[in-house]
């Protein structure tokens, strides 16, 4: 606040001094014009002085901080969206397998793991329940064909 009031006072003082000097020298045409020019230059310098002290480095650092903030917010939001997406996919895949097993009168519980890769395709599944070898074989084939999970990544308990 001190800097602002100092700036205001300087501008007012320069303006008043310029007005007085111009008034005094106004009668002499030649000197009057020069005085007017000098006072105009002094006024302009005083007014624009704060703009000249703005540092370009500070501005570029500030821009960098904003960009970092934006990237942080976006990566957090994407991570959150990915977690939500994984939860939905897990739930839907589990329901799909349970429903398929139910059509063969088999009661199972399924747990799906999704790999950390960008594809969000289920990576490994763990199936628990009493299932006959014949139905197990059918389910293994269904899971392989429909969900793209090969037999070696299907854990049957």
């Amino acid at each position: 606040m001190g800097a602002i009031s100092g700036y205001i006072l300087t501008v007012i003082c320069i303006a008043i001094v310029s007005a007085i000097v111009t008034r005094i020298c106004g009668n002499n045409q030649a000197v009057g014009n020069i005085i007017k020019l000098i006072t105009a230059v002094a006024m302009t310098i005083t007014i624009i002085a704060p703009f000249l002290s703005i540092s370009v480095d500070g501005l570029s650092n500030y821009m960098h901080t904003i960009e970092m903030d934006a990237n942080g917010i976006i990566s957090r939001a994407q991570e959150q969206a990915e977690n939500d997406l994984q939860a939905i996919i897990t739930e839907k895949v589990e329901t799909y397998i349970i429903n398929k097993a139910a059509t063969y009168d088999a009661e199972i519980s399924v747990s799906v793991e999704i790999s950390a890769s960008d594809s969000l395709i289920p990576d490994t599944i763990t199936i628990e329940g009493e299932v006959s070898p014949y139905i197990k074989e059918i389910l293994v084939k269904i899971i392989e064909d429909d969900l793209g999970i090969p037999e070696d990544r299907q854990i049957w308990k």
Partner: protein
């Protein structure tokens, strides 16, 4: 009926998988709370509520502004009567008139400047909290490039504008006020030109910032919006073509995430728009009425007041105009930005 509505709303909450609390718009500042509607689902209804509430609050302010104008009118009439007395110097009468008018106006102008500055700060601070919410919601919707550009642009221009207003334009308003009074008392050409220059500088600074910001948003939102839309489309095509069933599951799940993020983003955006309008409308009406009444008073003064006094009242109404422009610019900056966030991925 109420039970059904509550049940449906509860079910809707379960349907939306995106963590809604993450994307809730921040509550409007305390001063703007009285103008905020309880239901912010519809923007048109909400805006209408904000306007109606502001007009209800506005009556006492109108009386206050009218009282000030009557005071000024009385001073000017008194001075014009004094002028007719031959024994009193015309210059002394002008000086006294200027001082009386200035003293009467300074207090209310100072109050309005403080109100304007407070509004700018409040809008800027609210915007700083709202921006991350909108950015996150747009990024969750698949507009990561758009959200980064919008956040960076709005945060930069907000900082530039709020700092420019509080650190440069407000001091300039005070300088302009002092110079206008000095010009009216002394009648110096240089002071007059300086007043005009400062007014021009303030007006154009605000205009240029707003023009550059609008230009930046128009260009970048077209480019980044198209890029995001293309990336989304490509991802959907790739995913749905992987394995028939799992591909469809992944595609459906991402569609659910995108739609729910869009719903949450729209809700936050509409609340944000209404909150910004609620912060802005009260001060706008107060300063705007003062501006119009001073303009009217200057018109009346032209009929029987002195040239210097009329010019001083015009200058003070000009200051009110700058204050209206000041709060209008920062409000418009956020309105445009939020609308761009709402438009999102096209």
């Amino acid at each position: 009926m109420r039970k059904i509505v509550v049940t449906v709303l509860a079910l809707l909450l379960f349907i939306i998988p995106v963590t809604a609390e993450e994307y809730l718009a921040p509550t409007a500042p305390e001063r703007a709370q009285k103008y905020m509607p309880s239901d912010t689902e519809s923007f048109a209804d909400g805006l209408w509520f904000v306007i109606k509430s502001a007009i209800k609050e506005f009556n006492p302010n109108l009386a206050e502004a009218a009282k000030l104008c009557i005071k000024l009118l009385a001073i000017i009439i008194l001075v014009s009567i004094l002028k007719n007395f031959t024994g009193i110097s015309r210059q002394v009468v002008n000086l006294v008139c200027t001082l009386c008018v200035a003293t009467t106006l300074i207090q209310s102008t100072n109050t309005m400047i403080n109100l304007g500055t407070q509004t700018v700060t409040e809008t800027s601070e609210y915007g700083k909290i709202l921006l991350p919410v909108m950015t996150a919601a747009l990024a969750a919707q698949g507009g990561s490039t758009s959200s980064a550009t919008l956040y960076t642009g709005t945060a930069f221009f907000n900082a530039l504008l709020s700092t420019g207003i509080t650190k440069l334009i407000v001091p300039m308003v005070y300088i302009n006020m002092v110079l206008c009074i000095a010009n009216s008392a002394v009648g110096n050409d240089m002071l007059n030109n300086l007043c005009k220059f400062i007014k021009w500088l303030m007006t154009w600074s605000l205009k240029i910032i707003l023009y550059v910001f609008t230009g930046y948003l128009s260009i970048t939102s077209v480019i980044t919006g198209t890029t995001d839309a293309a990336v989304l489309k490509a991802t959907k095509l790739t995913v749905s073509g992987v394995v028939p069933v799992v591909g469809n599951i992944v595609s459906d799940a991402s569609e659910t995430i995108i739609v729910s993020a869009k719903i949450v983003k729209n809700a936050a955006g509409i609340y944000g728009l209404l909150a910004i309008a609620a912060i802005w409308i009260g001060p706008f009406l107060r300063i705007g009425v003062q501006y119009l009444l001073l303009k009217l008073l200057a018109g009346i003064c032209e009929m029987f007041g002195s040239k210097e006094t009329t010019s001083l009242i015009k200058d003070f109404s000009g200051i009110m105009g700058i204050l209206v422009a000041m709060i209008g610019t920062i409000c418009l900056l956020f309105l445009v930005s939020i609308i761009c966030f709402l438009k999102g991925v096209t």
